[in-house]
């Protein structure tokens, strides 16, 4: 049986991991397993930018993906970037196997507020669904409440929900049937 592997990378709260696993199973209808933690490779670190290159991390994830993995989605506490952009909340191979979500900019502390586990969990779930949606061929959605909408700042991210909108749900089913 094929599974979705949820990979913790760095300091990730086990409660958040468990909520994310439940949310993925509920949304995509595929069994999810939380794998052993994985180290973020040091060579993906850019000392000038003080960030980690998500492309290199995705490559490593792909290399180490278990045989029974249908999809692999990692959650990291490191701040991620791709060369042209100043940061990304997450990154996934479109219609591919591996994706990653960073919680570095999802924490309230990043914006100068006291830590809030509930807010962090909600934000993480939205981004995990978003990146996994890309793995299943979903593009950005124009419905601002759908997790598949593009969020380029935390205000936009907070505006959206965790549950896929009807059209994205339909597209997801079609995409899954095609495979």
């Amino acid at each position: 049986m094929k599974l979705i592997y949820l990979v913790p990378m760095g300091d990730i709260d086990p409660d958040i991991l468990e909520s994310a696993a439940l949310c993925l199973w509920h949304t995509f209808g595929i069994e999810v397993t939380v794998s052993d933690p994985m180290e973020v490779q040091t060579d993906t670190y850019d000392s000038k930018r003080k960030q980690y290159g998500s492309i290199e991390i995705l490559r490593a994830l792909l290399k180490s993906a278990p045989k029974d993995a249908l999809r692999v989605i990692a959650i990291t506490d490191k701040d991620l970037f791709i060369p042209v952009l100043s940061f990304v909340y997450g990154h996934a191979q479109f219609e591919g196997k591996v994706g990653i979500v960073s919680i570095a900019r999802l924490r309230q502390e990043y914006y100068g507020f006291p830590a809030d586990k509930e807010i962090l969990t909600q934000r993480t779930l939205k981004e995990v669904v978003h990146e996994t949606g890309h793995l299943f061929g979903l593009t950005h959605c124009s419905d601002v409440a759908c997790p598949m909408t593009l969020s380029t700042n935390i205000r936009l991210l907070d505006r959206k929900g965790v549950t896929l909108c009807e059209s994205c749900m339909l597209l997801l089913k079609e995409n899954m049937l095609e495979k």
């Binding site: 930018r49 042209v84 996934a92 593009t139 950005h140």
Partner: protein
Amino acid sequence: MRKNWEILVVDDEEIACESLAAWLREDGYPTDIALSGQEAINKAKEKEYALYFVDLKMPGGPDGIETMMHIRNIYPDASVIIITAHATVDTAITALKEGAQEYLVKPINPEEISLLVDRIIKVKNLQRQNILLRKKLTRQYSFHDIISKNQKMHDIFQLIRDIASLKSTVLIQGESGTGKELVARAIHYSGDRAKKPFVSVSCAALAETLLESELFGHEKGSFTGAGSRKKGKFELADGGTIFLDEIGDISQKLQMDLLRVIQEKKFYRVGGSEEINVDVRVIAATNKDLMKAVKAGEFREELYYRLNVINIQIPPLRERREDIPLLVRHFVDQISHELNKDINDITENAMRVLMDYNWPGNVRELENTIERAIVTCKSDVLSEEDFTFISRAREMDEDWTVPTNESLQNVEQRVIEATLRRFEGNIKETASVLGIDRSTLYEKIKKYDIPRYKKEETIEKE
């Protein structure tokens, strides 16, 4: 709508190129990549992209700005965003001066890039919608190249449909430049004769003997210079339509000959004895009041009634001002395309100038005015400044008061001089606006000894 717009990302660093492209694909835009300026130029030659992200520094070939210039050479409207990790004021100025839509410094905030792409695509969608709506509007208001939403013109369109397949002669009357020939063509091409020839003759352009030979043809040696037999326009139009423009200017003898052809459908070539039979529909046109000419004995009454079986009066442009915006937009699109200029709009103020003007030379004058403005326009939108020559002409009109202490000849001379000046010595336009044929204008220039126009002279006077 996103799927309709493709994006090209150009960067010699594959990882940067591919990751931005992947990010844009996730946003729903089909995105291609090019790993060098040359590859980007080749790809742009194959198809047009809605948006180009081009890295500034690409060694070993055209850099970002050169690549952009090549692309904008192919597509002057191309939206190019230059991206760089090494920003300098100089490169930013050069990029924007050469037409870059934006100049972004890496790393770019995702929000900035997302808003920028949305904004550019929104404008592209609006432009596309605008073009479609304009085309729809022109189609809705056009009939065989005649564009109008005026009720009188639409009555004429209906009349044309009704009479198109009849054999009856038609007399089209209207001021110079109102489109009499277009109406004649519309009649021909709407009827049974559409696949047969449409032959147009300007009666005022030729001397009497030449016109006779032009209309009826001639036999070899029938007059000096007639080296061979030549078919006339009536024979060439057999089965189709002959359009006799400026019919009010033909001589009494030709009036007789024409009357005979219309009545008997046969004629002789000049110097010939063989009777030629033709099946030709006659459509005549004039900007003169033919009835007045009949009363003055200058035009044969029988011919007038033979020609005037169906009468079409085309209103002057000043009586259908609602058509001016439609015509202006049509001419802007058509002429800027013909002249390969990138002009796609006109400001409201400029349109107001055109709406307020009286257009004595009607649609033809409007077309020439737009052409002149497009030729001299420096931006991509026609503005009021591009039509200052109209304001000057209008001021001259307004300044003019009817003189009460001058001979009629003096007044005529002054009017001819002023009109020649206005059209920069163009005989055709001057004659057209004055409502006389070119030969008459030449006679009057000679009679009053009016010097030929010189541009510098006029500028000094103005």
